[in-house]
């Protein structure tokens, strides 16, 4: 499966969740994401990280509710828990420290927290299903070097965490608990030492295996000129767009011209990179289905909320069971289609 198919799918779901706070819709989207991940994930390190995203989502939800109880603005409504309100000075008017917790306020916090949690899960689903490194490697040739750098940076941070853990453990053998500034030095020196060694070893390995071999020294002058033009156009164009007093051609047209220059520049730069791809990910029917199912869910929700903003907004005053139009259910159901695709994930 092409990694970008999963990212498009997850992006569609993420857009869907941002359009509403309706807990039924958000809950359905969340459920769809989890079902697809469970059905399609493989036994890979990045797929194993999905549990972490679920825990993070739960933590986000709990935090959101806790914040509401402790410092949220408490509106009127059915009091559920009558906490005493801590008086605050005049200037802290937007903060209510404790105070009576109402059903409506609490539900509002849960709805908002649920939406954030669903966003986290959508992001986690894309990460669990698509190998993040492969996704970066599918970048156009011009971005190949940057993509490689990002891939390596991504593997460095977990390595740093592991290394810090190992050093802490080893230092206890010396009978010292790393604490205070001295402890920080004792921890940082071996960790950075190891990180430097590691990156040098990797750089040496990549160098002797031909990395960056085909790139001409100094680069292409035309690329530099085109990218400079693109950058200038972006600056001038944004100025023209935001300042109402400038003539109309200084806005969108200049921005477009800049974009064309940028694309030309990267195409030229891409020609200088001579490399091939081993078994590149192909975009087939399955990829289209996956991407389309996510896009569909996103567009339907955008369309529904645009035509009738109140339809999906759950009413808190008065408290009412949120509505769930059939078209929304169907569109979210479409997002589960990737789980039913034939064959094991490749």
């Amino acid at each position: 499966m092409h990694p970008w198919a999963w990212w498009v799918w997850a992006l569609g779901l993420a857009v869907a969740t941002t359009r509403t706070t309706n807990p039924l819709v958000v809950g359905l989207v969340l459920l769809a994401a989890v079902v697809v991940v469970l059905a399609r994930r493989e036994d890979t390190p990045w797929a194993r990280a999905f549990r972490g995203y679920l825990l993070l989502a739960a933590a986000v939800l709990v935090m959101r509710v806790a914040f509401h109880v402790v410092v949220g603005i408490k509106g009127p409504g059915q009091v559920l828990l009558d906490l005493p309100r801590v008086p605050l000075p005049e200037w802290a008017v937007a903060v209510h420290l404790l105070g009576p917790v109402t059903v409506e306020g609490l539900l509002g916090a849960v709805y908002a927290g649920l939406r954030l949690a669903a966003l986290v899960v959508c992001f986690g689903a894309a990460n669990a299903l698509a190998n993040p490194k492969r996704a970066l490697r599918a970048l156009p040739a011009a971005l190949h070097q940057i993509g490689t750098a990002v891939v390596i940076a991504m593997s460095v941070s977990p390595a740093l965490v592991t290394s810090a853990g190992q050093v802490r453990r080893a230092q206890r053998l010396r009978g010292q608990e790393p604490r205070g500034p001295r402890g920080l030095v004792a921890l940082a020196v071996p960790v950075l030492d190891d990180a430097l060694d590691r990156s040098l070893a990797l750089a040496a390995s990549m160098d002797s295996r031909g990395y960056a071999r085909a790139v001409r020294a100094g680069g292409d002058r035309r690329v530099a000129a085109l990218l400079l033009v693109a950058l200038l156009a972006a600056a001038v164009g944004s100025y023209g767009l935001l300042d109402a007093t400038t003539p109309g051609w200084l806005g969108v047209p200049v921005l477009l011209a800049g974009a064309v220059a940028a694309v030309l520049g990267s195409l030229l730069a891409g020609r200088a990179v001579r490399r091939t791809r081993y078994r590149p990910d192909r975009w087939g029917v399955a990829e289209t289905v996956v991407a389309a199912s996510g896009v569909l869910a996103g567009t339907v929700l955008v369309a529904v909320t645009a035509s009738d903003p109140a339809l999906l907004e759950p009413s808190l005053h008065p408290l009412r069971w949120p509505a769930l139009p059939p078209v929304v259910v169907l569109s979210v159901a479409a997002a589960v289609v990737p789980a039913l695709l034939p064959g094991r994930p490749a």
Binding site: T44, P45, N131, K133, T148, I152, Q166, V167, R169, A170, Q171, R172, L173, R174, G175, Q176, E177, V185, A186, L187, V189, P190, D193, D194, D197, R198, A201, L202, A203, A204, S205, M206, D207, S208, R209, G210, Y211, A212, R213, A214, R274, R275, T276, R277, Y278, R279, P280
Partner: protein, 554 residues
């Protein structure tokens, strides 16, 4: 073909050249073995052949190095990628991608090999190195031996004519090391590759070498046939030591050849009643087991220890006693749970179940995991696999002073211990500039300053040459003789044969054998040291045991 023409290398900030006046030629299709003491410039020689010296490391290169006709002065390492393949000691550090198949293809992608050719070459290499069943596996999940074979495969796909390997087997268990070496010899014999290979443990590779490059401590290089060079080289595996001692010429380099030459020696031992061989019989008597009536005191007792790492059960129900006066070797495959067990015994590592008790000075037993770290290390000291993690100060003297303070020892204790272990380490040196063996000595001194009676060492022989190993062995034996107990994990059977009386064998986290070193080692097809293989069926482990009978015989 690799040709060094009057090559000298001097690193920046160094007064002494790492290599000088090197004139050697490695012919096409030859396996050249690079030997020499630690820090002699073996790695520099290898890196000069790949262009990493001086393009990557910096430094001044005089003379010139030609690899398949390309001059490394004008060719960067990346421009040599299609003729030289480089494999390093720790392959995991050089991996760029996630899975076996992608790693194999990486070099070809950089060389812009057409996609269809890439597919066929990947399949060829998968078959050649027996990696087909691993093709989709994540690199991080592979064992050490598998990783090393993938690293070799990853350079082979670019179809290099020369392979350069820097200690490819030093982190591997004997079985995995055999696999890697078998793959290498196959490449030399079947594909005619030129191989430049550096090794510390020569016992397994020396028989496969066509030529030996001996890097001396002063940076000069002597080239010659294996038996000629090794007859005088400063490093020698047991088989060569035995050959030198017995005066065999030409020197036998394989166990098969040595067995033929040693027929007389074995018959002499068979006779038994003769004058000289009885010495051999009388030697094997490990002092710790000398008298059963005086049972040695158990300094550490572990019962049913379990260690869990995530979903993996690393150690499963190991019970073990460590006795005063005994050096015990902990052996087993990569990933058998040796490190986990050592950390659990020390008390700093996780332990899911079971008990560990150490005998205190006043015979009060305690569990090291419940003690404060500073207290636990007074009972059980551990030198971890990566000793560098313990060092963080900018000079040896500062490390020693900190060591005294942390151990609560009188000032100068650590420095005195260090002088005994590594006399050549200067106090103002940066610990990171010391050699691997010297750093190990420094950490050992720091740990010994707390006077633990139980000493645990995790893979202490990595990167040590024969001389450093001999010194380490004598220190460990001395620690045991002074009433301590030593438990060391290692893959180095020759080192075990020299210093350990007892061998504990782990497999998949379980204890599968625990007995006298002689019984466990001689019986095992993978763990038997060279001398035991040569002298089979006589249970002799080291050259030193044969010395008396040979000397009398001569």
């Amino acid at each position: 073909m690799i040709r060094f023409e009057h090559v000298g290398v001097t690193y920046p900030g160094s007064e002494r050249p790492a290599l000088r006046a090197v004139d050697v030629t490695v012919e096409e299709g030859a396996l050249a073995l690079v030997v020499g003491p630690t820090g002699s410039g073996k790695s520099t020689l290898l890196r000069a052949a790949t262009g990493l010296v001086p393009h990557f490391t910096g430094g001044l290169l005089t003379g010139r190095v030609l690899v398949e006709g390309r001059d490394t002065r004008t060719h960067l390492p990346r421009d040599l990628a299609d003729v030289v393949g480089v494999v390093v000691q720790d392959p995991a550090r050089g991996f760029v991608t996630d899975t076996v198949e992608e790693e194999l293809a990486y070099a070809m992608e950089q060389l812009a090999v057409p996609a269809t050719v890439m597919r066929t070459r990947v399949e060829e290499v998968l078959d050649l190195l027996g990696l087909a069943s691993l093709r989709r596996r994540a690199l991080g999940d592979l064992s050490g031996g598998e990783q090393q074979r993938v690293a070799i495969g990853a350079v082979l796909t670019a179809r290099p004519r020369v392979l350069v390997l820097d200690e490819p087997t030093s982190a591997l268990d004997p079985g995995a090391a055999e696999d890697v070496l078998a793959a290498l010899t196959r490449l030399v014999h079947d594909l005619g590759l030129t191989v430049l290979l550096a090794e510390h443990r020569l016992e397994r590779v020396v028989q496969h070498a066509d030529t030996v490059l001996h890097v001396r401590a002063d940076g000069t290089v002597q080239q010659g046939d294996p038996d000629e060079v090794l007859a005088v080289a400063s490093v020698a595996p047991p088989i060569v030591e035995l050959g030198r001692l017995a005066g065999w010429s030409p020197l036998p380099l394989s166990v098969r050849d040595a067995r033929r030459r040693a027929r007389g020696l074995r018959e002499g031992l068979d006779a038994g009643g003769g004058s000289s061989p009885t010495h051999v019989r009388s030697l094997p008597a490990p002092p710790a087991h000398a008298g059963d009536h005086a049972a040695p005191a158990a300094l550490l007792r572990a019962d049913d220890v379990h260690v869990q790492h995530g979903r993996v059960a690393a150690v499963r129900g190991v019970s073990l006693e460590l006795h005063a006066g005994e050096v015990t070797a902990l052996m087993g495959r990569n990933g058998a749970g040796k490190s986990s067990l050592l950390w659990a015994l020390q008390g700093s590592g996780p332990r899911r179940r079971g008990t560990v008790r150490v005998a205190g000075r006043g015979e009060v037993a305690g569990d090291p995991s419940t003690m404060a770290p500073a207290e636990a290390r007074r009972h059980v000291g551990l030198v971890p696999q990566d000793p560098d993690a313990l060092l963080y100060l900018e000079s040896v003297a500062a490390e020693c002073a900190a060591g005294d303070r942390q151990a609560g020892a009188p000032a100068g204790t650590t420095a005195r211990l260090l002088r005994g272990l590594v006399p050549e380490a200067a106090p103002d040196q940066d610990p990171r500039d010391l050699s691997e063996g010297q750093r190990l000595g420094l950490v050992l001194a720091i740990q010994l300053a707390a006077q633990p009676r139980v000493l645990l060492l995790d893979e202490p022989t990595r990167g040590l040459d024969y001389g450093a190993k001999r010194r380490l062995a004598s220190h460990l034996v001395a620690h045991a003789r002074a009433g301590g107990a030593v438990l060391l994990s290692t893959h180095d059977v020759e080192f075990v044969a020299v210093c350990a009386e007892r061998v504990v064998l782990l497999a998949e986290g379980e204890l599968v054998a625990d007995g006298a070193a002689r019984d466990v080692l001689v019986a095992s097809p993978t763990f038997a040291p060279q001398v035991a293989r040569i002298m089979h069926p006589h249970p002799v482990l080291t050259v030193d045991e044969l010395r008396p009978s040979l000397e009398v015989g001569a």
